[in-house]
């Protein structure tokens, strides 16, 4: 190592350590503190212009929903599930046979679903216009196909011994229970209601929209070249819905839920600095029910506050990003103020100045039950919705 190298090493020794530091100490305000503490504010913001919040009904109808609710709540509320299957064919193919074999008779049928109770055969021709009153006469003993006792069909869990709250219900009924009339093209329509010796009978069945449709498998006898053989045929489910009484009318207040589903829109005009130029630390939407949440006792509903992508009133498209929505669960009978944490929504708005500052309130799944909640509007002084926002104003960097 010659001296030039040593000099270089010395130079590196001087330069090398010149850029490191570690310093953290407690402050003692105000004398030994930064000039300005974070500018925190906590304020109550009301929706824009009184009367501009709106409620609409008709988004999702009963036949479009993912769950079919059955309930018998005394004489006040009643709902029943309806299914209609494709026509039973008059001839079928056996195994790999290419020849159509005529169906001689129906031996039995298998009706599985998430849950079911009393099964009635209804006149065919169900559609979206079918009402509770239209089918009510068919729910009589003479048309009862079978009664499924849920407790006896869904066994307890072998490990826990507890009976699951959901499962697949499957029961075989004799073919003689069905009337498959040629004048009906072999179409079978069923209705299901609920009954219980105590309490409010309540069940929810899967719908075709949830990819859990009702399935009817017919075990039929087929004439196979003079011999009689059995096979199973499963016509597709053509239509399912549930009907109920009483029907829902026009929305009252800011209504969410019900069938067809109701939504409500709330528009905000935030003071400068709350959303666009600051950081929101916490934001809570406060909604005051006008009356106890309506529905079957014990049933709950999820209310979603979803930012709208454009404000077209009832037809406002919703922002699909999960950052723009928040949820809260409400239970039938609730009377307290409902609080929805909108912190992520307001933070997301901070980065999207072009989005309208409006949220649509809706239920999820929509039209999946009879639960409905009616919140006060901007014109109902004691029940006015509001948003509590804790936020930080822009820090005054560079000020001395």
């Amino acid at each position: 190592m010659n001296r030039r190298h040593l000099v270089l090493a010395g130079a590196l020794g001087v330069v090398g350590p010149s850029c490191t530091e570690q310093l953290t100490g407690p402050g003692s305000c105000p004398d030994y503190c930064p000039v300005t503490a974070p500018l925190f504010a906590d304020t109550l913001i009301f929706p824009v212009t009184v009367g501009l919040d709106s409620s609409y009904r008709g988004y999702v109808r009963a036949e479009e929903t993912t769950r079919l609710q059955i309930v018998e709540q005394g004489a006040t509320v009643s709902s029943r599930a309806l299914f209609e299957f494709a026509p039973l064919p008059d001839s079928v193919r056996l195994g790999g046979d290419t020849t159509l074999r005529p169906v001689i008779r129906i031996d039995s049928a298998r009706l599985p679903n998430d849950l079911a109770l009393g099964v009635y055969q209804l006149p065919p021709g169900l559609d979206s216009t079918t009402t509770y009153d239209d089918v009510a006469p068919s729910f009589e003993l003479g048309r009862l196909v079978t009664t499924m006792i849920v407790d006896s069909i869904i066994p307890p869990d072998s490990t826990t011994g507890e009976r699951p709250a959901s499962g697949t219900l499957e029961i075989i009924v004799p073919g003689s229970a069905f009337t498959i009339a040629p004048e009906d093209s072999g179409i079978v329509a069923l209705g299901i209601d609920a009954a219980a010796s105590s309490g409010v009978p309540f069940a929810v069945l899967g719908a075709a929209e949830a990819l859990t449709p009702a399935i009817a498998s017919y075990f039929v006898a087929v004439d196979s070249a003079g011999d009689t053989t059995s096979t199973a045929v499963a016509p597709a489910l053509q239509f399912d819905t549930f009907v109920f009484t009483p029907a829902f009318g026009a929305p009252v207040g800011l209504e969410v839920g019900g069938v067809p589903s109701a939504r409500s829109i709330l528009r905000f005009d935030f003071p400068e600095g709350v959303v666009d130029t600051s950081r929101v630390s916490r934001a809570t939407l406060l909604l005051v029910p006008l009356e106890p949440v309506a529905g079957v006792p014990g049933e709950s509903m999820t209310v979603v506050a979803n930012a709208v992508a454009a404000d077209f009133g009832a037809k406002s498209p919703l922002v699909p990003d999960s950052a723009f929505r928040a949820t809260v669960s409400v239970a039938a009978g609730d009377v307290d103020t409902i609080r929805i944490d909108l912190t992520t929504v307001l933070r997301a708005w901070g980065g999207t100045p072009d989005l309208p500052r409006a949220v649509m309130l809706r239920a999820t799944p929509e039209a999946g039950g009879l639960t409905t909640v009616r919140f006060g509007t901007t014109v109902s002084l004691s029940f006015q919705p509001a948003m509590r926002v804790a936020f930080f104003r822009p820090y005054p960097f560079g000020e001395r």
């Binding site: 190592m1 001296r3 090398g16 953290t24 004398d31």
Partner: protein
């Protein structure tokens, strides 16, 4: 000698492991802590020789006697403890106090380009408090960190007018930035953490003149004056603050008392009270005295210093320091290494800071 140098170089690299902070709590609400552009050689005498030291940046006339291309740099490591007002902290920081490149220019002038610190703004504080939110007191913890400062880049021309008279003028560009980060966390985690950061940029201009007069071979006198304009602070291109910077006047005297024993004293005043800041600002005064023993190629130094500081919450803080150091040349006078250790005490009526400052400098004349 070779083993010495290797050992020293390694020691310098390891210095940050034991070092600490030069900034000050007193400047937290001011512009920053004014940095002394003093090289390791002068720091060993507590700054007493600074008006005569080409490795320091206070007096531009010191460059006039440099006859060949010279590069110098020094590093500074500070270990600081702070006590008082509920504060008990141990901090450390490493900085590059001054670096320069000096060499002959036209018409027997000497140029020099120097880079040194001007205002240090590096500190991080953590506080706890409560805020009222939704009619309840919520506990919060705030952290505020600023990392950076303002550097002084100077371009000077010096000339020996007569064998015993050196003069110089310098143009200063003040540039710098600090990354500022403020964070608030809530004990109630339903409140989201708040984080905001920005880069503050600083710029300004200044001029300075200096003179060194040697009335005899045993006595030297130095004087300098510096006027800085305004320091402009910008954030995201927007000027957020403009502050007056001080006029600085200083001088020194050095004498050869006995064979290989040199004594020096320096004095400096600056009008920092012009600065418009949240804290109180005061004019500053400093006085240093020191000695250097031995030939320049191998010397030891001692010194003491008293100074008042420019920013404080109420009462003007003061600083007292003692320093010692040594230096030696190598490579036939083409290089020099200097080391200094300084112990300083700062206080006002509420807070006390104690500092260990270790400095090392290298001068090379290729």
């Amino acid at each position: 000698m070779g083993r010495w140098l290797v050992g020293l170089a390694i020691g310098l690299v390891l210095l940050p492991q034991v070092g600490a902070a030069q900034d000050s709590y007193y400047s937290m609400r001011g512009l920053g802590h004014p940095s002394r552009p003093i090289g390791a050689r002068s720091r060993g005498s507590a700054g007493a020789f600074a008006p005569f030291d080409p490795g320091s940046g206070v007096n531009p006339a010191t460059a006039a006697r440099i006859a060949r291309l010279t590069a110098s740099a020094s590093t500074l490591v500070t270990n600081r403890t702070v006590q008082g007002e509920g504060i008990d902290a141990s901090l450390r920081q490493t900085r590059f106090p001054v670096a320069s490149l000096t060499g002959p220019f036209f018409f027997r002038t000497v140029y020099s380009v120097r880079v040194g610190p001007y205002l240090a703004r590096s500190h991080e504080v953590s506080t706890q408090d409560t805020v009222l939110a939704r009619d309840q007191l919520v506990a919060v913890r705030d952290r505020y960190r600023t990392d950076g400062g303002t550097s002084d880049i100077s371009f000077l021309l010096a000339k020996r007018l007569r064998p015993n008279l050196d003069v110089a003028g310098s143009f200063h560009v003040l540039l710098g930035s600090a990354r500022v980060n403020t964070v608030r966390t809530f004990e109630d985690t339903t409140y989201q953490e708040y984080v905001e950061s920005a880069v503050e940029s600083f710029d300004g201009l200044g001029v300075s003149v200096g003179v060194i007069f040697l009335p005899s071979q045993l006595l030297g006198l130095a004087g300098y004056a510096r006027s800085d304009g305004n320091l402009k602070t910008t954030v995201n291109g927007v000027t957020t603050n403009t502050t007056d910077l001080p006029l600085t006047l200083g001088g020194g005297v050095a004498g050869l008392i006995a064979n290989e024993l040199r004594l020096a004293a320096s004095i400096e005043w600056a009008s920092w009270s012009k600065a418009q800041v949240t804290a109180q600002s005061f004019d500053t005064f400093s006085f240093a005295a020191g000695l250097e023993l031995g030939p320049l190629a191998r010397s030891a130094r001692l010194g003491v210093r008293y100074a008042t500081l420019p920013f404080g919450p109420t009462k003007q803080p003061t600083e007292t320091a003692v320093a010692g150091g040594f230096g030696f040349g190598f490579a036939g006078g083409r290089g020099a290494l200097d080391f200094a250790v300084e112990r300083a005490w700062r206080s006002d009526d509420q807070l006390e800071e104690k500092l260990w400052v270790v400095s090392a400098g290298l001068t090379v004349r290729p």
